[in-house]
Amino acid sequence: MFKYALQRIVYMFFVFMIITVMCFVLIRMLPLPQLPPEDVHSLQIQMRREQLGYNKPYLVQFWYFIRNIFTKWDWGLSETLYPGREVWSVFVEKLPATMIVNLYSILWTIPVGIALGIWAALKKNTWIDYTISTLTMVVISVPSFVYAFLIQYILCYKLQWFPFLMKGGTDYFSWAMFKSIVPPILALSFGVIAGFCRTTRAELTEVLTSEFMLLARTKGLTKTQATVRHALRNCFVVIVPGIFGEFIGILGGSLIIERIFSIPGVGGLTLNAINGPDYNIFMLSTCFYTAIGLAAGLVVDISYGFIDPRIRMGSKK
């Protein structure tokens, strides 16, 4: 199992490096943004460009880029958005806002989603199941900005329960801050609830009809015992990796929700870097999102092995 995990990690690292090289070259091929001539930072940035070999071949540039990252964790300087500031420090500043919104959202949505899924599966082919399944279907289909609109209009404008936009500042655990991030949390939640509900229902209905459930009942377990000890455990083989994947995903967040509620997070930073254009920030965002996507896949894959002995045994052969 350890060997398998290691293999996967090494492989993912290679994939990550290939993507980074491709994106790096494509970004460096773009014309550089003009620097304001009288700005104090222009000279500094100009010197940094010189030092990073902007007039040398792309692979040499990439070597400098990688070397700086591995030796000094230096991702370059911001050129247009925050002239002269270290890209990494800007980025780290933005990360907590994204994380906090997503963290709150999944903390309550995953249990709710799973609970609804279990309920629907246990009441299969009753009106409860039909209602939950239909709602899940509808909620999954509708894009998140529609929810964001409804929440902003009804909760923030008509009822005036919450402020429109996320509060500024870094007091992430204050009450005022919590109140101001309730709308984005809600907007993010619908999709997650529906996703988990659908997976859980599908998985649990399949497990409940399998033969070992019949065996569990015939050897004298009550329905509750059989469901909790046998059915749920088996269906969590699929759900738990999904939860892990979701937790990795909180770093990434949602560009759209961040835009609507003006969350000062990495999504907004990326969009600004695209429109700036500020290529060093964009490069870092690219690496970041790629890494998150790959890591989520990796964690899901490996956790399958850890959770389910059958998969673990299968990989040994």
């Binding site: 289909s141 509708v142 209009y153 990326t270 999102y289």
Partner: protein
């Protein structure tokens, strides 16, 4: 009945000169697609979704052609205005009347609205929703002061505006007035006659010192229209207000041009040849929302179908090669998929836009972004189908008969998997529409120059004015939501119908 002695003539041969064979099947054989359709029709929600989908598609095809508005009809003034259709608004049903609630209007702003109603004959007040009474202390006494929540018709309330014309335009406008008898130019009010008006074009009546209108003996407003002939701009020779004594001046000279008070509603008729009529209101650009949604949806649908078709072709060939040859070919091609699918979609779109939009255009580069990674799912699906079928006996038989690889792949294996491949196409279309909407919403791709507008752009514009003009967000949201739900339900229904494992199972 006697059974012992049955006479010989009662016996006859079952068959004598005819061959015994099975009866030919009289019932018609049901084909694969007919069978799938039968099962699809059993699924009520999918059928309803299919009908709604058909309606939405027809909407997007025909509405932009039939409304008479085009993508270029952008009114600079009527932007983010609520739904309004004159003929229905006049009936007083409370719908489509350009209604917007203005909170806490004081007496003088109510007077301005009433003044607009008297002067133009178009009453902007639909209804006074609520009257708030507050007591304020004035000269040592508590007197009630009123403020009103008024439901106004924004199109009428927009009322009189200042406009500056050159000599030619001014003349043409007068000629048009004479032809149609519609009053656009209203008598001018010189600021020196009405200092309290603060250059508000809607003011035309005398005011008391406290800002309330001065009334004559009959309780009417007293007009203070300009009679300063020396300040008049170009000559005015057109229809006048009915109560005009003949000396009212209709313009004022402004540096080689004239400034007038015009009724914008009628000016709109002059410019466009018809009354403003917007079933779903207008967006921030002043486009008709009803048409704009149709335009955006038409683009989205065509684009999504195109992307799905291209992805289907690439994915099918790629997956076929992967699945058929297996081994190291499969491995290598799989690694390429891994790399491509690892790149975040936002990054792909951005890079394609930055690199290619100048050279090949925005839409093709957006298309490339979708094609670059979109086929991977389709390839995986085809690959699975190939693994399923390639070791079966009929393939062995065909190979023994000398069929080439190409023939085996596309004549023998591919048709077997086509059902599930096509149905997954129905599920990728809403995915493409969703991504396309997100990208245009975020402004990473701007398709307005090509498609007029897109749903994503409309949503982004609507979101900027969510409190002042909720209709601008509401209608695109409803449309998009409905489209996505129906596509998914329809796709799910198709998938279940084409899936042979559910045949005969009524779950």
């Amino acid at each position: 009945m006697e059974y012992e002695k049955i006479p010989a003539e009662k016996f006859r041969f079952v068959q004598e000169n005819e061959r015994i064979h099975d009866k030919e099947l009289q019932t018609k054989a049901r084909g694969f697609f007919a069978d799938a359709m039968l099962r699809f029709r059993k699924n009520k929600s999918s059928v309803i979704a299919a009908w709604i989908l058909l309606f939405l598609v027809l909407y997007s095809i025909f509405v932009p052609l039939l409304t008479g508005y085009t993508a270029d009809d952008k009114d600079p003034m009527y932007n983010n205005f609520p739904p309004f259709i004159p003929s229905i608004a006049d009936k007083g049903w409370g719908i489509l009347n350009g209604s917007k609630i203005l909170d806490s209007q004081n007496d003088s702003s109510l007077a301005v609205l009433k003044g607009t109603a008297i002067e133009t004959g178009k009453d902007p007040i639909n209804e006074i929703v609520k009257v708030h009474e507050t007591l304020v202390k004035r000269r040592g006494q508590w007197v009630p002061q009123y403020s009103y929540d008024v439901d106004v018709n924004r199109y009428y309330a927009f009322g009189i505006q200042y406009r500056t014309f050159n000599a030619n335009d001014y003349k043409r406008l007068q000629e048009w007035q004479n032809e149609t008898g519609i009053q656009v130019i209203y008598p001018y009010v010189e600021p020196e006659d009405l200092p309290a008006a603060k250059d508000n074009p809607k003011m035309w009546f005398e005011l008391n010192r406290d800002g309330t209108p001065k009334l004559d003996d009959d309780g009417n407003y007293i007009p203070v229209y300009s009679t300063h002939t020396e300040k008049q701009g170009f000559e005015y020779d057109s229809i006048r207000l009915p109560n005009d004594p003949g000396d009212w001046v209709y313009s004022t000279a402004k540096a080689g041009a004239v400034q007038c008070r015009i009724l914008y509603y009628n000016y709109y008729i002059y410019l466009n040849g018809h009354e403003p009529s917007y079933l779903m209101g207008t967006n921030v650009m002043g486009m008709d929302m009803f048409t704009a949604i149709g335009l955006g949806a038409r683009f989205s649908l065509i684009f999504a179908i195109l992307v799905s078709a291209i992805n289907l072709s690439i994915g099918a060939v790629y997956g076929a090669v992967q699945g058929y040859y297996g081994g190291w070919v499969d491995m290598t091609l799989d690694r390429i998929c891994d790399v491509l699918s690892g790149v975040p979609f936002v990054v792909v779109t951005t890079l394609f836009q930055l690199h290619l939009a100048q050279k090949v255009g925005v839409v093709p580069s957006f298309l490339f972004a979708f094609v670059l990674t979109g086929w991977i799912g389709m390839a995986a699906l085809t690959r699975r189908q190939f693994y399923r079928f390639k070791s079966q006996e009929f393939i062995l038989a065909a190979r023994t008969l000398g069929a080439s690889d190409k023939r085996l792949m596309f004549k023998h294996i591919f048709p077997n998997g086509i059902g599930s491949i096509i149905t997954s196409c129905a599920l990728t279309i809403p995915g493409v529409i969703g991504s396309e909407t997100s990208m245009t919403y975020l402004g990473i791709v701007n398709l307005s120059a090509f498609a007029g507008t897109t749903i994503g752009t409309l949503l982004a514009q609507g979101n900027a004015a969510v409190t002042t003009a909720p209709h601008a967000m509401l209608w695109p949201s409803i449309f998009l939501g409905l489209l996505m739900i129906c596509f998914n339900l329809f796709g799910n229904g198709l998938r279940d119908a084409f899936n042979p494992t559910t045949r005969g199972i009524d779950d």
